[in-house]
């Protein structure tokens, strides 16, 4: 009989004080050296299943469990005193919350100390792991001073120092910017290929990882609904779970094509076949020079010609330096038109969050000016803007501290002198929670909600103040694609009512689909701005997958709807 690296038999698990099981009758195996991707919407049980594979569930979480989990044939219940940590390592979502020590080298040694590894052996393993992960130059650095990507690398290195046979990863890139996320994923793949490490990865951004996996398992409602190859997964998602589709696969599904590509390269080859099948290829590679010049002139004069009363926010030659001495904004100019949906893109450290904090008067420029609705914010306190400008920081937990979501919303209204407890307050609170899909949770503790729901609950506490402008700092971080679509559609509706949205995102797909105006910040200045088509159609890094798939054939495609329409049109021509 084949002994699997990990196997789960008839597994059912209930969290403490819950009637409904989080996992329901699961039978599943992982073979030695496999790279398995666990997919599924938020709350479907992916993270719980992952934690049963190293015994944290039920050992750490409590609750009731039925069935068996085995590692190399041995029942986890027979492996006492966390000795499973030698064989099955785990990396968590938030790099901040899994580091224990202050220095990189000591952090890597922490697990080895727990496993009582002799000192000489520890030295060898620490040195090896630091070399493999290219952490040697950082060995004496404080973990608090590392970037998010470096912290996650240290977290993975500290687990790998234990030399486990299996690595479990629970959304290890969800808190990272795209560059750092890619680096981490490449590293995981390298460990799988070079070290023969078995990998089980939970990830929301399937477009980043699907092509890396040997096998995909999709969960829904505590059960494994699909288990098979990545290619079959694309067909399964197209038929049963469209929210799990990759952007390029979704493009072909919505374009009425039978192909189910998993990567941009696959998609491009199908598109090439389609275009080359036509007698005459239309030359759409770029606008004629005169047209490009006209667009540039329009862009140059668009901001300058705008009347002051049409501007929701304006930054003029803004300079700002933090106490640490680092200058973040270096003479930044930007106009955000009223009633626009503006997405700010840019690398980490470009000044995106600092700019947003200027727009809500949490920071004030040391040089230059920041205006909100034409009013200079130099001497305005952030509290005075509440009710007019709503601000959502990166951490929704900072907004939630009352017993119920209702109390949380009422607190927000009271702060700016709005009524609570009367019909008007009830109408506004119910309307906001209903549009955000949170009305059933009105009397629940907001801290008990899932990640996506918490994000929306924090947004609700801002919206019940009925602001005319919203500033959102990376609101899509950690959301699954279904939740992102709900949020994007909601924000578009909000803007259609004449209000303004400015958001920071690393999610180019989200910006392309939903924003009307994109701004690229670089080194504390506005590097470029324009419509998604102007900004993303020819981008290298800042280009959505759909745009990349069409590059060279239809250079003005950036959204799913555009791409699907072109595919349908081209299919029609081929058929004709």
């Amino acid at each position: 009989m084949k002994v699997h690296e990990l196997s789960v038999e008839h597994l059912t698990y209930w969290y403490p004080e819950r009637e409904r099981p989080a996992l329901c009758g699961i039978n599943w195996q992982v073979s030695r050296g496999e790279f398995v991707l666990l997919a599924g919407p938020s709350g479907c049980g992916k993270s719980t299943l992952l934690r049963t594979l190293n015994g944290l569930v039920p050992e750490f979480y409590g609750g009731r469990i039925a069935g068996r989990v085995r590692a190399r044939g041995q029942d986890l219940r027979d492996i006492k005193d966390r000795r499973i940590a030698r064989h099955v390592g785990m990396v968590f979502q938030d790099p901040e919350r899994q580091l224990v020590m202050n220095e990189v080298e000591r952090e890597i040694a922490f697990g080895l100390e727990n496993l009582a590894v002799p000192e000489n052996e520890m030295r060898r393993r620490v040195a090896e792991v630091m070399a493999f992960f290219d952490l040697t130059p950082l060995r004496r650095k404080r973990t608090a001073d590392l970037s998010g990507g470096e912290k996650q690398k240290v977290a993975i290195a500290s687990v790998m120092a234990l030399q486990p046979d299996v690595l479990l990863l629970d959304e290890p890139t969800s808190q990272l910017d795209p560059g750092a996320a890619q680096e981490i994923l490449d590293l995981i793949k390298r460990m799988n290929e070079e070290l023969g490490l078995t990998v089980v990865l939970v990830e929301q951004r399937l477009d980043r990882v699907l092509h890396l996996a040997d096998r995909v398992a999709a969960m829904a409602d505590g059960k494994i609904e699909f288990d098979g190859s990545a290619q079959d997964f694309a067909h399964y998602a197209a038929e049963r779970r469209t929210e799990l589709l990759l952007p390029v696969t979704k493009l072909f599904v919505e374009g009425g094509r039978p192909e189910r590509p998993l990567t941009v390269k696959d998609a491009r080859s199908h598109i090439a076949a389609l275009y080359e099948g036509c007698a005459e290829r239309e030359e759409r590679a770029g606008d004629p020079p005169m047209s490009r010049m006209k667009k540039t002139l329009q862009r140059l004069f668009a901001g300058g010609g705008r009347e002051a009363d049409e501007r929701a926010f304006e930054a003029g030659r803004v300079r700002f330096r933090y106490e640490s001495g680092e200058e973040v904004l270096k003479g930044l100019d930007l106009i955000v038109p009223r009633g626009s949906f503006t997405a700010i893109l840019g690398p980490n450290g470009a000044g995106k969050s600092t700019l947003l904090r200027h727009f809500c008067a949490l920071l004030h420029p040391q040089e230059g000016k920041v205006l909100q609705d034409g009013r200079d914010l130099r001497s305005v306190d952030a509290a005075a803007l509440a009710g007019r400008v709503g601000y959502l920081s990166q951490n929704p937990g900072d907004y939630l501290f009352h017993e119920t979501l209702r109390a949380e919303c009422e607190f927000s209204r009271r702060q700016i002198g709005l009524s609570t407890g009367d019909d008007e307050a009830e109408r506004v609170i119910v309307a906001v929670l209903e549009t955000l899909g949170l009305l059933p949770h009105l009397d629940r503790n907001p801290r008990d909600l899932s990640g996506g729901e918490r994000q929306r609950a924090a947004l609700a506490t801002v919206l019940v103040q009925e602001p005319s402008a919203l500033l959102l700092d990376e609101p899509t971080r950690g959301l699954d694609s279904g939740q992102k679509e709900i949020l994007g559609n909601w924000l578009r509706h909000y803007v259609e009512e004449g209000r303004t949205v400015v958001l920071i995102t690393h999610d180019v797909e989200f910006a392309a689909e939903h924003a009307g105006h994109l701004v690229l910040l670089d080194d504390g200045q506005t590097a470029a701005q324009g419509t998604p088509r102007e900004m993303l159609a020819r981008g290298l890094f800042y280009a959505p997958q759909i745009g990349r798939a069409f590059r060279g054939y239809e250079d003005d495609v950036v959204t799913l709807a555009d791409g699907a329409a072109r595919l349908r049109g081209r299919s029609g021509q081929v058929d004709a």
Binding site: L112, N114, L115, L362, S393, S412
Partner: protein
């Protein structure tokens, strides 16, 4: 919020963690043993010199910025409560709750002055420890005989800076929700800070749960641990330990012969008894304590 700057590891790898930890401990121990004001002044001088030589004087300044109010209250209350001493400077007729009739004596003021000096040395020695030894090295040093307590201390160190950053973040969020922290009476201001504490408490609880889970996933709690250390005992450490051990024995000897004690009551004793013979150890102790401070000084590196 101002934050205490912790040392980088590279800056103090020349000496063993035990050496770096023992020197502040010795100063602290002597501060508790000694009662004679001149010896305490010497200890304060040595502690200040050690802080200067390690480049930690500004950190001591920060400690005092938060600690001076405590020292002042401690001094005033102790003087008001303590009614011993023969040299009465003031005697009030009114009977106050808790304090009774006020009776200020020169002896009581001098005694509390001595206690103030002692506390300053303790504050200084603590700052010296914190700025000389990184928490990880401290953890490594103590984990072999106090494993669990060391982990708790380590996590507490991390929690302090985490809470400090979190406080700033939550305060900013609350301001954008309309909370005006600086408006209203002080009671109102305190009430406005109440939700701040709620968020911090809940976040800290959630954070500690996640850290605990990550620790358990890496085998914490399996039982006996080993210690990873880069510490190496060198001749430099021996050089530092020699005067430290000599100072310790000298102080114990002087304590046993009561020459580092001082009589505050009923009347203040002479500062310079027996023509200064009793204080002969003072310059020797000064040299023995200043030597380690000099040897442990922070060296500038050329880059």
């Amino acid at each position: 919020m101002s934050r205490l700057s912790l040392p980088t590891v590279e800056s103090d790898m020349r000496h063993h963690a035990g050496t770096l930890a023992f020197y502040p401990f010795l100063l602290l121990l002597l501060a508790v043993l000694v009662e004679h004001p001149l010896y305490l002044i010497l200890l304060l001088f040595v502690t200040t010199a050690a802080l200067i030589l390690r480049g930690s004087l500004s950190a001591f300044g920060k400690t005092l910025r938060f600690g001076w109010a405590f020292l002042l209250v401690f001094f005033v209350l102790s003087v008001l409560i303590n009614k011993n001493g023969a040299t009465v400077l003031y005697a009030g007729g009114l009977n106050f709750p808790v304090f009774g009739k006020i009776r200020l004596t020169a002896e009581s003021i001098a005694y509390q002055g001595m206690m103030l000096l002692r506390l300053l040395v303790i504050f200084g020695a603590s700052t010296l420890y914190v700025t000389s030894l990184s928490p990880d090295r401290g953890f490594s040093l103590f984990s072999s005989f106090a494993g669990r307590s060391s982990v708790v201390a380590m996590l507490t160190t991390r929690l302090i800076s985490y809470l400090s950053e979190q406080t700033d973040a939550v305060r900013d969020v609350m301001r954008t929700r309309g909370v005006k922290f600086e408006e209203g009476s002080w009671i109102k201001r305190l009430q406005k800070r109440n939700p701040l504490l709620n968020v911090l408490l809940v976040s800290a609880m959630e954070g500690s749960w996640q850290v605990a889970e990550a620790m358990e996933a890496r085998g914490y709690g399996m039982g006996r641990r080993t210690a990873y250390t880069r510490e190496r005992w060198t001749g430099r450490d021996g050089l530092v330990w020699l005067p430290m051990v000599a100072a310790l024995f000298l102080a114990i000897g002087e304590k046993m012969s009561e020459r580092i004690d001082y009589a505050f009551y009923p009347r203040l004793g002479p500062l310079w008894p027996d023509g200064g013979e009793a204080l002969a150890a003072l310059p020797v102790l000064a040299v023995l304590l200043l030597l380690p401070a000099f040897l442990l000084r922070r060296r500038r590196r050329n880059r």
